[in-house]
Symmetry: C2
Subunit: 276 residues, 2 copies
């Protein structure tokens, strides 16, 4: 499999960074991740916008223009012949003289296979556990997943699908996904602040706007537990129903009709995007 | 300069990790850092204890025993001929198949020059700014310094020395140091929970115990602002007086006698440790 490191195409097995990179020494870096379908990137412009925005907030200049990055992505699509894939762009803090100062950022672009949630998870919905946590620089897609990865053993123990971050009683986001609830009145609500704004979240909001009442605002954990339906969104998860949180059922404990409809709408939306 | 990567000694310029390491992809790793004085490690056993403890909590097994790590450290001391230095042990999440699962951790040991705070900072004390933040896994020395490094430009703007993390009105720690206050009654207090317990912090507590009343407990930001003296501790900072926080003076705005005495005691303690 080929990748790009600072504009050079090479085999992943030969792609390295010096140990003085600030991602290795201090976990300092940002990234973004998108899917390809039929060898074509999905929502690439949204992911690029977010990637360049993250780089700005993190004070990590990218020494390639968006069109140069797109060229590198296309070159991987040709070289790797992996039509259904995930493409990751990582921008690290660069080589640091003193182990704490930002250097010239290193840009890595990789492509790899992806797995989707099993069909039965869409049929039965998924269970979450909650964890008190507010991501640092929440609006930036940093490489810092210390808490998310640390929680993996707990998630497995509790036979859950993922963890939901809660801060001061407010529902925020999952380790790598956004959350939505549907109230008894049929209103669709998703948190607005202190979260990473996912591209799938954005597309669902756009799609749903013409069919439903939508609110972006704070959601308390009580409101989630009393919701009629809940679902999560993410690049590889699309629209996945949530049916239990900390062993309490959401709604009747089964995926609801609106979540199901939104998944269908999303799949249709993706198809239309691809056919354009 | 030589370093060790997974037990192999090599030139730092040739020391690399593959881009699939979980430190690069997800900022997942732990580390520790100690000084050498006259080519001899300072408080090595404390740093090793903490490093192995961090590795345990982070679910990252170290495939070298403590005595093997000490052998590698000694080998660097001989090869690099840098009697006054900082030695860093980094343990990363290892090469990840899926970009999220922990692999076999990579162990890196590097040695480099260190700089101490200028003498005038000990004479005049330093100014801090506060920042609302609770480090994730605070008792673990993770590689995650996203917030600390991100704050650097703000610290510079405010002409401060460092940032003090405050959570729910409670003073916690600095980006890379611990904090102590001295009350009007001459009691020495330092936070006990939600912090990384520094080795210098531990040594100061041990030294001070026979001369002063000591408490490890929560400190509110108000209590800090009303303290008679305050100081910070760290491996390269030793005992450094804090004389202002968010532009409010601590005590009379000058380093106090107890902070000064503790620095002298620490220097003496370090000397005795080295002469042993």
């Amino acid at each position: 499999m080929y990748c790009f490191v600072n504009g050079l195409k090479l085999e992943v097995t030969k792609a390295t960074l010096n140990i003085n990179d600030l991602a290795i020494l201090r976990g300092y870096g940002i990234f973004d991740f998108f899917r390809t379908v039929d060898n074509k990137p999905l929502f690439l412009e949204d992911h690029l916008d977010r990637f360049y925005n993250s780089s700005k907030i993190a004070h990590l200049p990218i020494s390639f223009s968006k069109s140069e990055v797109i060229e590198q992505v296309n070159s991987l699509l040709t070289a790797n012949k992996l039509p259904i894939s995930g493409i990751r762009m990582v921008l690290t803090g660069g080589y640091s003289e003193d182990g704490y100062s930002v250097g010239k950022p290193n840009l890595i672009i990789t492509q790899g296979p992806i797995t989707f949630p099993a069909e039965e998870l869409y049929t039965n919905g998924v269970k979450l556990i909650t964890h008190n946590f507010l991501r640092e620089l929440p609006e930036v897609k940093t490489v810092n997943y210390m808490t998310g990865i640390w929680l993996k053993s707990k998630i497995k123990e509790e036979k859950a699908f993922d963890a939901l971050y809660v801060n001061n009683g407010q529902v925020l986001e999952l380790t790598r996904s956004n959350i939505f609830i549907i109230t008894k009145e049929g209103k669709i609500i998703t948190p607005q602040k202190n979260i990473l704004k996912g591209v799938t979240r954005k597309k669902v909001l756009e799609m749903a706007a013409s069919h439903y009442d939508i609110e972006e605002r704070e959601i308390s954990i009580d409101e989630l537990l009393q919701a009629k339906e809940a679902f999560l969104t993410g690049t590889t998860k699309k629209v996945l129903p949530i049916t239990a949180v900390d062993n309490q059922k959401i709604g009747d404990g089964k995926p609801g009709p609106i979540s199901r409809q939104l998944l269908e709408m999303f799949n249709q939306f993706e198809k239309e995007y691809m056919d354009k």
